[in-house]
Chain length 200, copies 2
């Protein structure tokens, strides 16, 4: 209705369309045209909403991580479960979303990280703050799990969280290369061992 509302919708539509397309094809390989056609927004409008393709990419990543972190927060706060179970739920969902049949798992971070972090400082920083947020939350959950006794670790919680996140990033990359969810099995088993949880 109001102008402001429509404006936000259009902006959001562009971002949503881009998220799908860029999660499949990357950043440089996708032209604004394709995104705008898919969003039903005329080309001329783009620079009304975003200053440049780079600024657009930054906004895309920022929005992506915002949603991602709130979902992560709720996964790690689900009532009635131990922190150990909550953590494994998180990784189970990661696996489900990345390994889905539509080969384009929707993790923008994995898809764009290598390509974009040498290309645009702004996008790199968006990636950095988003991934740091993820690791921090995982570290807190691990710490809480240790405190309640559902998780036992050898290293410090933060280092453990970092290590597990790297492991799952690498597994995602490898799943893309191999077109198989097998790497997630390996990552999952390792995660259980690192957290001293019983095998699946």
């Amino acid at each position: 209705m109001s102008v402001a509302r429509d404006t936000i919708d259009v902006r959001q539509n562009i971002l949503a369309a881009a998220q799908q397309i860029m999660a499949a094809k990357g950043f440089s390989a996708v032209g604004l045209n394709e995104i705008l056609v898919s969003a039903g927004v005329p080309k001329g409008s783009f620079y009304h909403y975003f200053g440049s393709k780079e600024a657009f990419g930054e906004a895309l990543l920022a929005g992506y991580f915002e949603d991602y972190l709130t979902a992560l927060d709720s996964t790690l706060a689900e009532p009635g479960l131990s922190h150990a179970v909550r953590l494994m739920n998180y990784w189970q969902r990661w696996q489900d979303s990345q390994g889905s049949l539509d080969c384009q798992g929707k993790c923008l971070a994995i898809k764009l990280a290598a390509e974009v972090s040498d290309l645009s400082e702004a996008m790199r920083l968006a990636l950095k703050s988003g991934t740091t947020g993820i690791i921090e939350r995982l570290a807190r959950a691990i710490e809480a799990g240790v405190a309640e006794g559902s998780v036992v670790i050898e290293d410090k919680p933060y280092a453990t969280a970092e290590m597990l996140y790297y492991l799952w990033m690498g597994a995602s990359l490898m799943a893309k290369i191999r077109r198989t969810p097998a790497p997630f099995e390996t990552a999952s088993a390792t995660t259980r061992r690192i957290l001293s949880l019983p095998a699946h």
Copy 2:
């Protein structure tokens, strides 16, 4: 001298130039022009040596892994060292090459994997066979380390090799995002623990 020799040189020059440029900027973001100018080769020659940009990318990856694997073989066969030390040497060199001052560590696999594996089946397969080769060699070295007693692991050698490779891929990605070699420290410490080696 001979025609054949020169031909190989030109081809190799193009590939060498591309390896540097693409390790920095990715695949789609780089035009053939830039590569050819940098290699001092006219455009007309390109299509004499390669059928398309995609076929070129495939050859680039194949050549990259060929070199990579022979270097890996010699690292893992250095005389007078235990397998445990050889393995840690490999990762130390990984760290050195990736974390170097010229921010463009030269690992094509990390740089191109996510971008390219959804873009070209041929390139994806090159990536797949190359990374599989790396993991196989690591697995053999771990197995030999277990046999000689310098390495102790909980899981099977192959699964351990996979897991460690994922960990280091993820750490490399994160090092790119953060522009810090810190992730390698975490990966290194974890690797030591997984292999039951004394802390550094």
